[in-house]
């Protein structure tokens, strides 16, 4: 019997990575980025896409916040709630590992 899995909670030091069963790719037919998963295809908007592209297992949530803050000319504190909420939801839906 394996150890019981637990829900992961996002923190500033979490290092999110897209799950192996998801794939982020550009779709030339619709000229849009798609995130492919077992039963669904997601069409992330611009901000979601910027977050997902940084879910590469190299960037911590803190680094993602800093990066997005500079791109969108906001403070990391201002965007933290939205970004962390997004990552928590995607973790809970088994699309991102924290």
């Amino acid at each position: 019997m394996m150890p019981r899995r637990e829900r992961r909670i996002v923190t500033a030091s979490s290092i999110p990575v897209l799950k192996r069963h998801t794939r982020l790719q550009y779709d030339p037919v619709r000229q849009a980025w798609a995130l492919l998963s077992p039963e669904k295809v997601f069409w992330p908007d611009e901000i979601s896409l910027d977050i997902l592209k940084l879910c590469d297992g190299k960037h911590s949530v803190r680094q993602i916040l800093d990066h997005l803050a500079s791109v969108y000319e906001a403070s990391p504190e201002e965007i933290a709630e939205d970004v962390e909420g997004f990552l928590q939801e995607w973790s809970d839906r088994s699309l991102v590992t924290l």
Binding site: R5, R7, R20, R30, L36, S37, P38, E39, W43
Partner: protein
């Protein structure tokens, strides 16, 4: 932040398809009495050859298909499965293998992973060996499935457990949840049987009673809450007990289609039960021609075909009229509202059919076999 469906303001515009269910073969080692394949199964000599499937997959990728579910019958009975997967992986198409998991030779899962397979769904007919063996009519099936599921994980592939639910296993729903956790699956589908094809033939034997359905709903809701962020549980509720119909295929010919083993292209896997629909075959026509022009696809596309109560319903682009095949089977016309909808004048008939099933001889099964269906006592 994310929308799931491409084209928010879908009306009658024909958008490119997103998903395809490829029924590579109708051959299967299991004989489940609710199989979604047609009652008239195709023999091996009617199956498309490797080259034809590859050509079809290329055209599908060109057309915009992003996800292909490799199914059957049992798709691993095709020795060319790795070749098909490899082509799809090269084209950037997401591949989902839907398998019974009882017929994989050693090393096959690893080879499929190497070919670029993205995801595997293994069906379990029961949460315990006796149920799995009885429903699939296949001795040793449960242990083989457990082993296949372990091989999926060993190959580093993500795993979904699919549990088709009916009267004979509905009490095992809690055990299915434990099983999915024990096998370290990412997802569990608790999928109540849909009464089309074989399941319609066996409706009386498969129909659960109301108390069991209510218990099941409670169990699944609680597990979804308790296991939030741990195990994703998709719940496909039983139509006959529902208030609203399912948006079958996400809307007829809207973003997905089915290809039968012989290359016939259908809007849904049961569409053959609707008389008068004529289906085009890949090879006679290109996939793009079929998607855009097939009369069967255009018959119920969008909302123009709808009559009341769908026509003026605010849910018409949520439910898309429900299931055309269920309307055919229960209302006698595929253009009627799915009687699963509480607004259908025939909705009360669903309750009558449940009662009739409760009163009928409920241990007679027609097992899924190639050739004419035969009644058997379990």
């Amino acid at each position: 932040m994310v929308r799931q469906i491409f084209g928010d303001a879908m009306t009658q515009t024909i958008l490119p398809p997103i998903g395809m269910l490829a029924e590579l073969t109708h051959r299967c080692p299991l004989q489940c009495a609710y199989c979604s394949n047609p009652v008239e199964l195709l023999k091996a000599n009617r199956e498309m050859a490797t080259e034809a499937w590859l050509a079809l997959f290329d055209q599908a990728a060109d057309l915009g298909v992003l996800q292909i579910h490799l199914s059957g019958g049992e798709p691993t009975l095709r020795p060319d499965l790795e070749v098909l997967v490899e082509r799809l992986a090269n084209r950037g198409v997401y591949t989902n293998l839907i398998t019974a998991g009882v017929s994989l030779a050693e090393g096959r899962m690893e080879a499929l992973a190497q070919a670029g397979l993205d995801h595997v769904q293994v069906s379990f007919q029961g949460a315990f060996a006796p149920t799995t063996e009885k429903i699939g009519n296949h001795r040793g099936a449960h242990e083989k499935k457990m082993e296949t599921a372990r091989q999926v994980r060993a190959a580093g592939l993500p795993l979904t457990i699919n549990a088709p639910i009916h009267r004979h296993n509905i009490e095992e729903v809690p055990a299915f949840i434990d099983l999915a956790l024990a096998l370290n699956a990412e997802r569990l589908e608790i999928a109540n049987v849909q009464y089309a094809g074989w399941a319609l033939l066996n409706r009386n034997a498969l129909m659960p009673d109301r108390a069991s359905v209510e218990r099941q709903v409670e169990t699944v809701r609680k597990a979804q809450e308790d296991l939030y962020g741990i195990l994703a549980i998709d719940f496909i509720t039983p139509d006959y007990f529902a208030m609203y119909p399912k948006p079958c295929m996400g809307g007829w010919a809207r973003d997905a289609f089915v290809v039968a083993p012989d290359g016939s292209v259908l809007p849904c896997h049961a569409a053959g039960t609707i008389p008068d629909l004529v289906f085009d075959r890949f090879g006679d026509k290109s996939l793009a021609e079929i998607w855009l022009q097939s009369k069967a696809f255009n018959a119920f596309r969008g909302t123009d075909w709808m009559s009341e109560p769908c026509r003026s319903c605010e849910r018409q682009e949520i439910d898309w009229g429900g299931c055309r095949c269920q309307a055919m089977a229960l209302a006698g016309s595929a253009a009627e509202t799915d009687p699963a909808c509480a607004k259908s004048p025939l909705h009360a008939r669903m309750a009558t059919l449940i009662d009739e099933a409760m009163a009928a001889d409920r241990d007679e099964f027609r097992y899924r076999r190639i050739g004419s269906p035969v009644l058997e006592r379990q």
